[in-house]
Protein backbone atom coordinates (compact mmCIF):
# COMPACT_ATOMS: atom_id res chain seq x y z
CA UNK A 1 0.00 0.00 0.00
CA UNK A 2 2.75 2.47 0.90
CA UNK A 3 4.22 2.90 -2.58
CA UNK A 4 7.33 5.04 -2.70
CA UNK A 5 5.41 7.59 -4.78
CA UNK A 6 2.86 7.95 -1.96
CA UNK A 7 5.54 8.39 0.71
CA UNK A 8 7.27 10.92 -1.53
CA UNK A 9 4.12 13.04 -1.89
CA UNK A 10 3.47 12.68 1.85
CA UNK A 11 6.95 13.93 2.78
CA UNK A 12 6.94 16.73 0.21
CA UNK A 13 3.37 17.58 -0.72
CA UNK A 14 2.90 19.57 -3.92
CA UNK A 15 0.76 22.73 -4.15
CA UNK A 16 0.06 22.63 -0.39
CA UNK A 17 -1.06 25.73 1.46
CA UNK A 18 -4.07 27.98 0.93
CA UNK A 19 -3.70 30.58 -1.79
CA UNK A 20 -5.51 33.64 -3.15
CA UNK A 21 -7.46 34.25 -5.29
CA UNK A 22 -10.12 31.58 -5.07
CA UNK A 23 -13.72 31.18 -6.19
CA UNK A 24 -14.83 28.66 -3.57
CA UNK A 25 -13.52 27.13 -0.39
CA UNK A 26 -14.76 24.01 1.39
CA UNK A 27 -13.78 22.07 4.46
CA UNK A 28 -14.26 18.31 4.49
CA UNK A 29 -13.88 16.07 7.50
CA UNK A 30 -13.61 12.31 7.81
CA UNK A 31 -15.86 11.74 10.83
CA UNK A 32 -14.32 8.41 11.76
CA UNK A 33 -10.88 9.85 12.39
CA UNK A 34 -11.24 13.61 12.40
CA UNK A 35 -8.97 14.13 9.41
CA UNK A 36 -9.61 17.44 7.70
CA UNK A 37 -8.92 19.13 4.44
CA UNK A 38 -9.61 22.76 3.60
CA UNK A 39 -9.52 23.25 -0.13
CA UNK A 40 -9.84 26.22 -2.50
CA UNK A 41 -10.59 26.25 -6.21
CA UNK A 42 -9.83 29.09 -8.57
CA UNK A 43 -11.36 28.94 -12.06
CA UNK A 44 -10.45 30.90 -15.15
CA UNK A 45 -12.12 31.10 -18.51
CA UNK A 46 -10.14 29.75 -21.42
CA UNK A 47 -12.07 28.60 -24.45
CA UNK A 48 -15.33 26.72 -24.14
CA UNK A 49 -14.82 25.42 -20.63
CA UNK A 50 -13.51 26.85 -17.35
CA UNK A 51 -10.01 25.76 -16.43
CA UNK A 52 -8.69 25.06 -12.93
CA UNK A 53 -6.31 27.97 -12.51
CA UNK A 54 -5.39 26.80 -9.01
CA UNK A 55 -6.28 24.19 -6.43
CA UNK A 56 -4.81 24.93 -3.03
CA UNK A 57 -5.34 23.04 0.18
CA UNK A 58 -4.42 22.50 3.78
CA UNK A 59 -4.64 18.85 4.82
CA UNK A 60 -4.50 17.47 8.34
CA UNK A 61 -4.38 13.72 8.15
CA UNK A 62 -2.61 10.48 7.44
CA UNK A 63 -0.05 9.80 4.73
CA UNK A 64 -2.70 8.46 2.36
CA UNK A 65 -5.00 11.48 2.60
CA UNK A 66 -2.15 13.98 2.36
CA UNK A 67 -0.42 12.24 -0.52
CA UNK A 68 -3.69 11.84 -2.38
CA UNK A 69 -4.43 15.56 -2.12
CA UNK A 70 -0.92 16.32 -3.36
CA UNK A 71 -1.18 13.96 -6.36
CA UNK A 72 -4.62 15.32 -7.16
CA UNK A 73 -3.60 18.97 -7.11
CA UNK A 74 -0.59 18.23 -9.27
CA UNK A 75 -2.69 16.37 -11.82
CA UNK A 76 -5.66 18.69 -12.18
CA UNK A 77 -4.22 22.20 -11.96
CA UNK A 78 -4.33 23.59 -15.49
CA UNK A 79 -6.91 21.05 -16.67
CA UNK A 80 -10.45 21.92 -17.71
CA UNK A 81 -13.15 21.08 -15.19
CA UNK A 82 -14.38 18.36 -17.55
CA UNK A 83 -10.96 16.74 -17.83
CA UNK A 84 -10.42 16.87 -14.08
CA UNK A 85 -13.86 15.40 -13.48
CA UNK A 86 -12.95 12.48 -15.75
CA UNK A 87 -9.79 11.80 -13.75
CA UNK A 88 -11.77 12.07 -10.54
CA UNK A 89 -14.35 9.55 -11.78
CA UNK A 90 -11.58 7.18 -12.83
CA UNK A 91 -9.93 7.53 -9.40
CA UNK A 92 -13.22 6.84 -7.63
CA UNK A 93 -13.64 3.70 -9.75
CA UNK A 94 -10.13 2.59 -8.80
CA UNK A 95 -10.88 3.13 -5.10
CA UNK A 96 -14.06 1.06 -5.32
CA UNK A 97 -12.30 -1.79 -7.10
CA UNK A 98 -11.08 -3.72 -4.04
CA UNK A 99 -7.78 -4.21 -5.80
CA UNK A 100 -9.40 -5.82 -8.86
CA UNK A 101 -9.07 -2.91 -11.30
CA UNK A 102 -6.54 -2.38 -14.04
CA UNK A 103 -5.99 1.33 -13.67
CA UNK A 104 -5.34 3.41 -16.77
CA UNK A 105 -2.03 5.12 -16.13
CA UNK A 106 -2.61 7.48 -19.04
CA UNK A 107 -5.63 8.92 -17.24
CA UNK A 108 -4.52 8.53 -13.63
CA UNK A 109 -0.78 9.26 -13.73
CA UNK A 110 0.75 9.08 -10.23
CA UNK A 111 -2.67 8.30 -8.80
CA UNK A 112 -2.32 4.66 -9.92
CA UNK A 113 -0.03 4.29 -6.91
CA UNK A 114 -3.16 4.27 -4.74
CA UNK A 115 -4.37 0.99 -6.24
CA UNK A 116 -3.23 -0.87 -3.11
CA UNK A 117 -5.36 1.38 -0.91
CA UNK A 118 -8.50 0.00 -2.53
CA UNK A 119 -7.83 -3.34 -0.79
CA UNK A 120 -8.25 -1.68 2.61
CA UNK A 121 -11.86 -0.46 2.93
CA UNK A 122 -11.05 1.55 6.05
CA UNK A 123 -8.53 3.65 4.12
CA UNK A 124 -10.50 4.42 0.95
CA UNK A 125 -12.09 7.44 2.60
CA UNK A 126 -8.61 8.77 3.36
CA UNK A 127 -7.61 8.59 -0.30
CA UNK A 128 -10.87 10.20 -1.41
CA UNK A 129 -10.99 13.04 1.11
CA UNK A 130 -9.18 15.58 -1.08
CA UNK A 131 -10.99 14.53 -4.27
CA UNK A 132 -14.40 14.86 -2.66
CA UNK A 133 -13.48 18.28 -1.31
CA UNK A 134 -12.30 19.32 -4.79
CA UNK A 135 -15.54 18.13 -6.42
CA UNK A 136 -17.58 19.99 -3.84
CA UNK A 137 -15.55 23.19 -4.14
CA UNK A 138 -15.74 23.07 -7.93
CA UNK A 139 -19.49 22.56 -7.92
CA UNK A 140 -19.76 25.50 -5.56
CA UNK A 141 -17.53 27.70 -7.72
CA UNK A 142 -19.48 26.78 -10.88
CA UNK A 143 -22.76 27.39 -9.08
CA UNK A 144 -21.65 30.82 -8.03
CA UNK A 145 -20.59 31.65 -11.58
CA UNK A 146 -24.03 30.71 -12.84
CA UNK A 147 -25.72 32.80 -10.18
CA UNK A 148 -23.37 35.64 -11.05
CA UNK A 149 -24.20 35.37 -14.76
CA UNK A 150 -27.91 35.39 -14.07
CA UNK A 151 -27.69 38.48 -11.85
Amino acid sequence: MYQEIILEHYRRPLHAGLREPFDAQVQHINPTCGDEVTLRVSLKDAGAEPVLADVSYEALGCSISQASASVMADMIIGKTVGEAMQISDEFLKLMQSRGEAEPDEDVLGDAVAFEGVSKYPARIKCALLGWMAWKDATAKALGERETGEQA
Partner: protein, 437 residues
Protein backbone atom coordinates in the same frame (compact mmCIF):
# COMPACT_ATOMS: atom_id res chain seq x y z
CA UNK B 1 5.27 -18.33 28.44
CA UNK B 2 5.45 -20.86 31.28
CA UNK B 3 2.45 -22.87 32.41
CA UNK B 4 2.24 -20.79 35.56
CA UNK B 5 1.65 -17.75 33.42
CA UNK B 6 4.86 -16.06 34.37
CA UNK B 7 6.86 -14.17 31.79
CA UNK B 8 9.98 -12.17 31.50
CA UNK B 9 9.53 -9.07 29.40
CA UNK B 10 12.06 -8.10 26.80
CA UNK B 11 11.99 -4.49 27.94
CA UNK B 12 13.48 -4.46 31.39
CA UNK B 13 13.70 -8.07 32.48
CA UNK B 14 10.85 -7.37 34.89
CA UNK B 15 8.74 -10.34 35.91
CA UNK B 16 4.97 -10.24 35.72
CA UNK B 17 2.81 -12.85 37.36
CA UNK B 18 -0.59 -13.31 35.74
CA UNK B 19 -3.63 -13.54 37.94
CA UNK B 20 -4.76 -16.61 36.01
CA UNK B 21 -3.55 -18.94 33.29
CA UNK B 22 -3.96 -16.86 30.15
CA UNK B 23 -3.17 -19.75 27.81
CA UNK B 24 -6.12 -21.73 29.14
CA UNK B 25 -8.34 -18.71 28.72
CA UNK B 26 -7.12 -18.16 25.18
CA UNK B 27 -8.11 -21.68 24.24
CA UNK B 28 -11.74 -20.73 24.99
CA UNK B 29 -11.69 -18.06 22.26
CA UNK B 30 -11.82 -19.68 18.81
CA UNK B 31 -11.07 -16.45 16.95
CA UNK B 32 -7.69 -16.09 18.64
CA UNK B 33 -6.56 -19.16 16.71
CA UNK B 34 -7.08 -17.64 13.29
CA UNK B 35 -4.38 -16.22 11.08
CA UNK B 36 -4.48 -12.65 9.82
CA UNK B 37 -2.47 -10.71 7.23
CA UNK B 38 0.35 -12.78 5.77
CA UNK B 39 -0.56 -15.77 7.92
CA UNK B 40 0.43 -13.99 11.12
CA UNK B 41 -1.04 -14.69 14.55
CA UNK B 42 -3.74 -12.28 15.61
CA UNK B 43 -2.71 -9.91 18.38
CA UNK B 44 -5.97 -8.32 19.38
CA UNK B 45 -5.55 -5.09 21.33
CA UNK B 46 -8.94 -3.57 20.55
CA UNK B 47 -11.22 -5.03 23.22
CA UNK B 48 -12.19 -1.50 24.25
CA UNK B 49 -14.08 -1.36 20.94
CA UNK B 50 -15.46 -4.87 21.21
CA UNK B 51 -14.28 -8.00 22.96
CA UNK B 52 -14.08 -11.49 21.58
CA UNK B 53 -16.47 -14.20 22.76
CA UNK B 54 -15.54 -17.44 24.49
CA UNK B 55 -17.14 -20.62 23.22
CA UNK B 56 -19.19 -20.79 26.45
CA UNK B 57 -21.02 -17.61 25.37
CA UNK B 58 -21.37 -18.78 21.78
CA UNK B 59 -22.70 -22.14 23.00
CA UNK B 60 -25.23 -20.50 25.30
CA UNK B 61 -26.59 -18.37 22.47
CA UNK B 62 -26.69 -21.30 20.09
CA UNK B 63 -28.35 -23.50 22.71
CA UNK B 64 -31.09 -20.93 23.15
CA UNK B 65 -31.81 -20.94 19.42
CA UNK B 66 -31.56 -24.70 19.01
CA UNK B 67 -33.67 -25.72 22.00
CA UNK B 68 -35.78 -22.89 23.47
CA UNK B 69 -36.28 -20.28 20.77
CA UNK B 70 -39.56 -18.35 21.01
CA UNK B 71 -40.68 -14.78 21.61
CA UNK B 72 -40.23 -14.16 25.34
CA UNK B 73 -43.28 -12.87 27.27
CA UNK B 74 -45.69 -14.12 24.62
CA UNK B 75 -47.27 -17.35 23.48
CA UNK B 76 -49.14 -19.95 25.49
CA UNK B 77 -46.75 -22.70 24.61
CA UNK B 78 -43.82 -24.54 26.12
CA UNK B 79 -41.14 -22.83 24.07
CA UNK B 80 -42.60 -19.43 24.97
CA UNK B 81 -42.33 -20.34 28.64
CA UNK B 82 -38.78 -21.60 28.29
CA UNK B 83 -37.70 -18.55 26.32
CA UNK B 84 -39.22 -16.29 28.97
CA UNK B 85 -37.47 -18.24 31.73
CA UNK B 86 -34.17 -18.02 29.88
CA UNK B 87 -34.56 -14.29 29.32
CA UNK B 88 -35.60 -13.55 32.89
CA UNK B 89 -32.85 -15.87 34.12
CA UNK B 90 -30.36 -13.77 32.20
CA UNK B 91 -31.76 -10.66 33.86
CA UNK B 92 -31.24 -12.20 37.29
CA UNK B 93 -27.72 -13.28 36.29
CA UNK B 94 -26.73 -9.79 35.18
CA UNK B 95 -28.28 -8.36 38.34
CA UNK B 96 -26.18 -10.69 40.50
CA UNK B 97 -23.06 -9.65 38.56
CA UNK B 98 -23.69 -6.06 39.69
CA UNK B 99 -25.10 -6.86 43.17
CA UNK B 100 -28.40 -5.43 41.96
CA UNK B 101 -32.04 -6.60 41.98
CA UNK B 102 -33.39 -8.21 38.78
CA UNK B 103 -36.17 -5.60 38.61
CA UNK B 104 -33.51 -2.90 38.30
CA UNK B 105 -32.01 -4.37 35.13
CA UNK B 106 -33.38 -3.05 31.85
CA UNK B 107 -32.12 -4.73 28.70
CA UNK B 108 -31.44 -2.36 25.83
CA UNK B 109 -29.71 -2.95 22.53
CA UNK B 110 -26.55 -1.14 23.66
CA UNK B 111 -25.03 1.17 26.23
CA UNK B 112 -25.73 3.98 23.76
CA UNK B 113 -29.42 3.14 23.71
CA UNK B 114 -29.43 3.01 27.51
CA UNK B 115 -28.13 6.59 27.72
CA UNK B 116 -30.70 7.68 25.15
CA UNK B 117 -33.39 5.91 27.14
CA UNK B 118 -32.76 8.08 30.18
CA UNK B 119 -32.30 11.27 28.13
CA UNK B 120 -35.56 10.72 26.24
CA UNK B 121 -37.38 9.63 29.39
CA UNK B 122 -36.45 13.03 30.80
CA UNK B 123 -37.81 14.92 27.80
CA UNK B 124 -40.98 12.80 27.97
CA UNK B 125 -41.52 13.77 31.61
CA UNK B 126 -43.77 16.70 30.71
CA UNK B 127 -46.53 14.35 29.54
CA UNK B 128 -46.31 11.87 32.42
CA UNK B 129 -47.92 13.84 35.24
CA UNK B 130 -46.64 15.05 38.57
CA UNK B 131 -45.06 11.74 39.54
CA UNK B 132 -42.54 12.20 36.72
CA UNK B 133 -41.59 15.73 37.77
CA UNK B 134 -38.31 14.43 39.16
CA UNK B 135 -37.24 13.86 35.55
CA UNK B 136 -38.56 17.01 33.91
CA UNK B 137 -36.02 19.34 32.36
CA UNK B 138 -36.55 22.79 30.92
CA UNK B 139 -35.14 26.29 30.48
CA UNK B 140 -33.08 27.28 33.50
CA UNK B 141 -32.17 23.69 34.29
CA UNK B 142 -28.68 22.35 33.75
CA UNK B 143 -27.35 19.05 32.49
CA UNK B 144 -23.77 18.35 33.52
CA UNK B 145 -21.36 16.14 31.58
CA UNK B 146 -17.58 15.98 31.19
CA UNK B 147 -15.18 16.79 28.40
CA UNK B 148 -13.86 13.23 28.54
CA UNK B 149 -17.12 11.51 27.58
CA UNK B 150 -17.55 9.08 24.73
CA UNK B 151 -19.93 10.66 22.20
CA UNK B 152 -22.58 8.19 23.42
CA UNK B 153 -22.64 9.91 26.81
CA UNK B 154 -22.40 13.41 25.39
CA UNK B 155 -24.51 13.84 22.25
CA UNK B 156 -27.75 12.48 23.80
CA UNK B 157 -27.41 15.12 26.56
CA UNK B 158 -26.65 17.89 24.05
CA UNK B 159 -29.82 16.87 22.25
CA UNK B 160 -31.84 16.73 25.47
CA UNK B 161 -30.81 20.33 26.09
CA UNK B 162 -31.72 21.29 22.50
CA UNK B 163 -35.18 19.77 22.89
CA UNK B 164 -35.95 21.19 26.31
CA UNK B 165 -34.10 24.51 26.47
CA UNK B 166 -31.91 23.32 29.35
CA UNK B 167 -28.23 24.33 29.49
CA UNK B 168 -25.39 21.85 28.95
CA UNK B 169 -22.37 22.32 31.20
CA UNK B 170 -19.26 20.22 31.61
CA UNK B 171 -16.21 19.43 33.71
CA UNK B 172 -12.99 20.10 31.81
CA UNK B 173 -9.95 17.86 31.95
CA UNK B 174 -6.42 18.45 33.20
CA UNK B 175 -3.34 17.97 31.03
CA UNK B 176 -3.09 14.30 31.98
CA UNK B 177 -6.73 13.67 31.16
CA UNK B 178 -8.16 13.60 34.67
CA UNK B 179 -11.36 15.48 35.43
CA UNK B 180 -10.79 19.03 36.58
CA UNK B 181 -12.99 19.28 39.65
CA UNK B 182 -11.76 22.74 40.69
CA UNK B 183 -15.17 24.29 40.02
CA UNK B 184 -17.32 21.37 41.18
CA UNK B 185 -19.20 23.55 43.68
CA UNK B 186 -20.19 25.94 40.93
CA UNK B 187 -20.91 23.28 38.29
CA UNK B 188 -23.11 21.18 40.58
CA UNK B 189 -25.79 23.52 41.83
CA UNK B 190 -29.54 23.68 42.50
CA UNK B 191 -30.24 23.97 38.75
CA UNK B 192 -28.42 20.71 37.96
CA UNK B 193 -30.93 18.02 36.95
CA UNK B 194 -28.59 15.21 36.01
CA UNK B 195 -24.86 14.55 35.97
CA UNK B 196 -23.64 12.08 33.32
CA UNK B 197 -20.08 10.91 33.80
CA UNK B 198 -17.89 8.12 32.52
CA UNK B 199 -16.87 5.43 34.99
CA UNK B 200 -13.68 4.90 32.98
CA UNK B 201 -12.47 6.84 29.96
CA UNK B 202 -12.24 4.82 26.75
CA UNK B 203 -9.26 6.94 25.68
CA UNK B 204 -7.11 7.65 28.73
CA UNK B 205 -8.36 4.89 31.01
CA UNK B 206 -8.96 7.54 33.68
CA UNK B 207 -11.33 6.46 36.44
CA UNK B 208 -13.01 9.63 37.69
CA UNK B 209 -14.08 10.00 41.34
CA UNK B 210 -17.65 9.00 40.54
CA UNK B 211 -18.66 8.50 44.18
CA UNK B 212 -17.50 12.02 45.09
CA UNK B 213 -19.34 13.54 42.13
CA UNK B 214 -22.46 11.52 42.92
CA UNK B 215 -22.45 12.65 46.56
CA UNK B 216 -22.16 16.29 45.50
CA UNK B 217 -24.93 15.85 42.92
CA UNK B 218 -27.27 14.13 45.35
CA UNK B 219 -26.72 16.88 47.89
CA UNK B 220 -28.28 19.23 45.31
CA UNK B 221 -31.04 16.84 44.31
CA UNK B 222 -29.55 15.96 40.91
CA UNK B 223 -29.63 12.51 39.31
CA UNK B 224 -26.38 10.75 38.40
CA UNK B 225 -25.72 8.44 35.46
CA UNK B 226 -22.41 6.60 35.07
CA UNK B 227 -21.20 5.20 31.75
CA UNK B 228 -19.82 1.80 32.68
CA UNK B 229 -19.06 0.59 29.14
CA UNK B 230 -15.33 0.53 29.97
CA UNK B 231 -15.56 -0.34 33.67
CA UNK B 232 -18.11 -3.13 34.09
CA UNK B 233 -16.20 -5.51 31.76
CA UNK B 234 -12.90 -4.90 33.51
CA UNK B 235 -13.29 -4.70 37.30
CA UNK B 236 -15.73 -5.54 40.06
CA UNK B 237 -18.66 -3.12 40.08
CA UNK B 238 -21.13 -3.13 42.95
CA UNK B 239 -23.97 -0.75 42.15
CA UNK B 240 -25.01 -0.54 45.78
CA UNK B 241 -21.58 0.94 46.62
CA UNK B 242 -21.16 3.09 43.51
CA UNK B 243 -23.55 5.80 44.68
CA UNK B 244 -25.06 6.57 41.27
CA UNK B 245 -28.69 6.36 40.13
CA UNK B 246 -28.12 4.85 36.69
CA UNK B 247 -25.35 2.73 35.21
CA UNK B 248 -25.16 1.79 31.54
CA UNK B 249 -22.95 -0.73 29.77
CA UNK B 250 -22.91 -2.98 26.74
CA UNK B 251 -22.70 -6.75 26.45
CA UNK B 252 -20.31 -6.97 23.51
CA UNK B 253 -17.45 -5.32 25.37
CA UNK B 254 -17.63 -7.90 28.19
CA UNK B 255 -17.36 -11.18 26.23
CA UNK B 256 -21.10 -11.12 25.47
CA UNK B 257 -22.94 -10.84 22.14
CA UNK B 258 -23.57 -7.59 20.32
CA UNK B 259 -27.14 -6.31 20.31
CA UNK B 260 -27.64 -6.31 24.06
CA UNK B 261 -26.89 -3.56 26.55
CA UNK B 262 -27.99 -2.78 30.07
CA UNK B 263 -29.47 0.10 31.95
CA UNK B 264 -29.34 -0.39 35.70
CA UNK B 265 -31.47 2.08 37.63
CA UNK B 266 -32.53 2.50 41.22
CA UNK B 267 -35.88 0.80 41.60
CA UNK B 268 -37.64 3.84 43.05
CA UNK B 269 -36.50 5.96 40.10
CA UNK B 270 -37.42 3.41 37.45
CA UNK B 271 -40.89 3.24 39.06
CA UNK B 272 -41.64 6.84 38.13
CA UNK B 273 -39.44 7.31 35.07
CA UNK B 274 -41.41 7.77 31.84
CA UNK B 275 -40.84 5.28 29.02
CA UNK B 276 -38.79 6.06 25.93
CA UNK B 277 -39.68 3.47 23.27
CA UNK B 278 -43.34 2.57 22.99
CA UNK B 279 -45.04 -0.51 21.59
CA UNK B 280 -45.82 -4.10 22.51
CA UNK B 281 -44.61 -5.74 25.75
CA UNK B 282 -44.46 -2.47 27.64
CA UNK B 283 -48.18 -1.66 27.85
CA UNK B 284 -50.71 -2.40 30.58
CA UNK B 285 -53.99 -1.46 28.87
CA UNK B 286 -54.37 -0.08 25.36
CA UNK B 287 -57.48 1.77 24.22
CA UNK B 288 -57.90 3.90 21.13
CA UNK B 289 -58.01 6.97 23.37
CA UNK B 290 -54.77 6.20 25.17
CA UNK B 291 -52.69 3.59 27.00
CA UNK B 292 -51.16 2.78 30.35
CA UNK B 293 -47.82 1.15 30.91
CA UNK B 294 -46.31 -1.75 32.84
CA UNK B 295 -44.04 -1.34 35.85
CA UNK B 296 -40.29 -1.48 35.30
CA UNK B 297 -38.32 -3.12 33.85
CA UNK B 298 -40.92 -4.17 31.24
CA UNK B 299 -42.02 -0.55 30.74
CA UNK B 300 -38.65 0.12 29.12
CA UNK B 301 -38.49 -2.96 26.91
CA UNK B 302 -40.88 -2.50 24.01
CA UNK B 303 -40.92 -5.15 21.29
CA UNK B 304 -39.79 -8.77 21.29
CA UNK B 305 -36.63 -8.79 23.43
CA UNK B 306 -33.21 -9.96 22.27
CA UNK B 307 -33.48 -13.08 24.42
CA UNK B 308 -30.62 -15.07 22.86
CA UNK B 309 -28.30 -12.10 23.28
CA UNK B 310 -29.38 -11.62 26.89
CA UNK B 311 -28.73 -15.32 27.52
CA UNK B 312 -25.29 -14.92 25.95
CA UNK B 313 -24.61 -11.97 28.24
CA UNK B 314 -25.64 -14.09 31.22
CA UNK B 315 -23.09 -16.70 30.12
CA UNK B 316 -20.46 -13.95 29.84
CA UNK B 317 -21.20 -12.99 33.46
CA UNK B 318 -20.70 -16.65 34.43
CA UNK B 319 -17.40 -16.73 32.58
CA UNK B 320 -16.11 -13.53 34.17
CA UNK B 321 -17.26 -14.46 37.66
CA UNK B 322 -15.54 -17.83 37.32
CA UNK B 323 -12.30 -15.98 36.57
CA UNK B 324 -13.06 -13.54 39.37
CA UNK B 325 -13.40 -9.86 38.53
CA UNK B 326 -10.62 -9.02 41.00
CA UNK B 327 -8.32 -11.29 38.99
CA UNK B 328 -9.48 -9.75 35.72
CA UNK B 329 -8.66 -6.30 37.08
CA UNK B 330 -5.27 -7.44 38.40
CA UNK B 331 -4.37 -9.06 35.07
CA UNK B 332 -5.24 -5.93 33.13
CA UNK B 333 -3.43 -3.69 35.57
CA UNK B 334 -0.26 -5.75 35.09
CA UNK B 335 -0.61 -5.46 31.31
CA UNK B 336 -1.23 -1.72 31.59
CA UNK B 337 1.83 -1.18 33.80
CA UNK B 338 3.86 -3.16 31.30
CA UNK B 339 2.48 -1.18 28.34
CA UNK B 340 3.03 2.19 29.99
CA UNK B 341 6.64 1.22 30.72
CA UNK B 342 7.30 -0.20 27.27
CA UNK B 343 5.75 2.74 25.45
CA UNK B 344 7.35 5.38 27.66
CA UNK B 345 10.70 4.13 26.38
CA UNK B 346 9.85 4.96 22.77
CA UNK B 347 11.25 8.24 21.51
CA UNK B 348 8.71 10.67 20.12
CA UNK B 349 5.75 8.89 21.73
CA UNK B 350 3.30 10.74 23.96
CA UNK B 351 0.75 8.86 26.04
CA UNK B 352 -2.63 10.53 26.42
CA UNK B 353 -3.61 10.26 30.06
CA UNK B 354 -1.89 9.33 33.30
CA UNK B 355 1.44 7.51 33.22
CA UNK B 356 0.69 5.33 36.22
CA UNK B 357 -2.18 2.97 37.00
CA UNK B 358 -3.57 4.84 39.98
CA UNK B 359 -7.30 5.35 39.24
CA UNK B 360 -6.59 4.31 35.68
CA UNK B 361 -7.78 1.34 33.67
CA UNK B 362 -6.35 -0.50 30.70
CA UNK B 363 -6.74 1.85 27.75
CA UNK B 364 -3.42 3.16 26.48
CA UNK B 365 -3.76 5.82 23.79
CA UNK B 366 -0.78 7.57 22.30
CA UNK B 367 0.44 9.88 19.56
CA UNK B 368 3.70 9.56 17.68
CA UNK B 369 5.70 12.50 16.33
CA UNK B 370 5.43 12.66 12.56
CA UNK B 371 3.23 9.59 12.05
CA UNK B 372 -0.52 9.78 11.76
CA UNK B 373 -2.45 7.16 13.81
CA UNK B 374 -3.95 5.68 10.62
CA UNK B 375 -0.46 4.96 9.40
CA UNK B 376 0.61 3.51 12.75
CA UNK B 377 -2.48 1.30 12.70
CA UNK B 378 -1.75 0.19 9.14
CA UNK B 379 1.81 -0.88 9.94
CA UNK B 380 0.63 -2.69 13.09
CA UNK B 381 -2.13 -4.40 11.11
CA UNK B 382 0.44 -5.76 8.68
CA UNK B 383 2.12 -7.29 11.75
CA UNK B 384 -1.17 -8.86 12.85
CA UNK B 385 -1.70 -6.33 15.65
CA UNK B 386 -5.23 -4.91 15.86
CA UNK B 387 -5.49 -1.49 17.50
CA UNK B 388 -7.95 1.38 17.29
CA UNK B 389 -7.05 4.58 15.47
CA UNK B 390 -8.87 7.89 15.27
CA UNK B 391 -10.63 9.85 18.00
CA UNK B 392 -12.35 6.77 19.49
CA UNK B 393 -15.71 8.60 19.62
CA UNK B 394 -14.21 11.11 22.06
CA UNK B 395 -13.46 14.09 19.86
CA UNK B 396 -13.70 16.82 22.50
CA UNK B 397 -11.31 14.89 24.77
CA UNK B 398 -8.76 14.65 21.96
CA UNK B 399 -9.03 18.40 21.40
CA UNK B 400 -8.52 19.01 25.11
CA UNK B 401 -5.42 16.81 25.07
CA UNK B 402 -4.08 18.60 21.97
CA UNK B 403 -4.30 15.52 19.78
CA UNK B 404 -6.01 15.42 16.40
CA UNK B 405 -6.42 11.67 16.85
CA UNK B 406 -4.56 8.82 18.50
CA UNK B 407 -3.70 5.13 18.40
CA UNK B 408 -5.19 3.05 21.20
CA UNK B 409 -4.37 -0.33 22.67
CA UNK B 410 -6.85 -1.91 25.08
CA UNK B 411 -6.45 -5.13 27.01
CA UNK B 412 -8.62 -7.94 28.24
CA UNK B 413 -8.51 -11.36 29.86
CA UNK B 414 -6.91 -13.06 26.86
CA UNK B 415 -4.04 -10.63 26.29
CA UNK B 416 -0.47 -11.52 27.17
CA UNK B 417 2.69 -9.67 28.09
CA UNK B 418 4.28 -10.94 24.88
CA UNK B 419 1.59 -9.09 22.97
CA UNK B 420 2.45 -5.87 24.78
CA UNK B 421 6.07 -6.31 23.71
CA UNK B 422 4.92 -6.99 20.15
CA UNK B 423 3.04 -3.69 20.23
CA UNK B 424 6.13 -1.77 21.33
CA UNK B 425 8.21 -3.49 18.62
CA UNK B 426 5.56 -2.72 16.03
CA UNK B 427 5.54 0.96 16.94
CA UNK B 428 9.30 1.06 16.49
CA UNK B 429 8.92 -0.59 13.09
CA UNK B 430 6.42 2.07 12.07
CA UNK B 431 8.90 4.76 13.10
CA UNK B 432 11.59 3.10 11.05
CA UNK B 433 9.29 2.76 8.05
CA UNK B 434 8.28 6.41 8.07
CA UNK B 435 11.79 7.51 8.91
CA UNK B 436 10.88 9.55 11.97
CA UNK B 437 13.66 8.30 14.26
Amino acid sequence: MSAAGEVTTAAGGMRHRDAFDVETIRSDFPILGRAVRGGRHLIYLDSGATSHKPRQVLDAERDFYTTHNAAAHRGAHLLGEEATDAYEGARARVAAFLHAEPGEIVFTKSATEAVNLVAYAMSNAGTFGPQASRFSVGPGDEVLVTESEHHANLVPWQQLCERTGATLRWFGVTEDGRLDLANIDELINDRTKIVAVTHQSNVTGVVPPVAQIAAAAHARGALVLADGAQSVPHRPVDVTALGVDFLVFSGHKMLGPSGVGVLWGRRELLETMPPFIFGGSMIEVVRMEGSTFLPPPDRFEAGVPAAAQAVGLGAACDYLDALGMDNVAAHEEALTVHALEALAGIEGLRILGPLDTSERGGAVSFVLDGIHPHDVGQVLDELGIAVRTGHHCAWPLHRALHAQSSTRATFYVYNTHDEVDALADGIRQAQKFFGTV
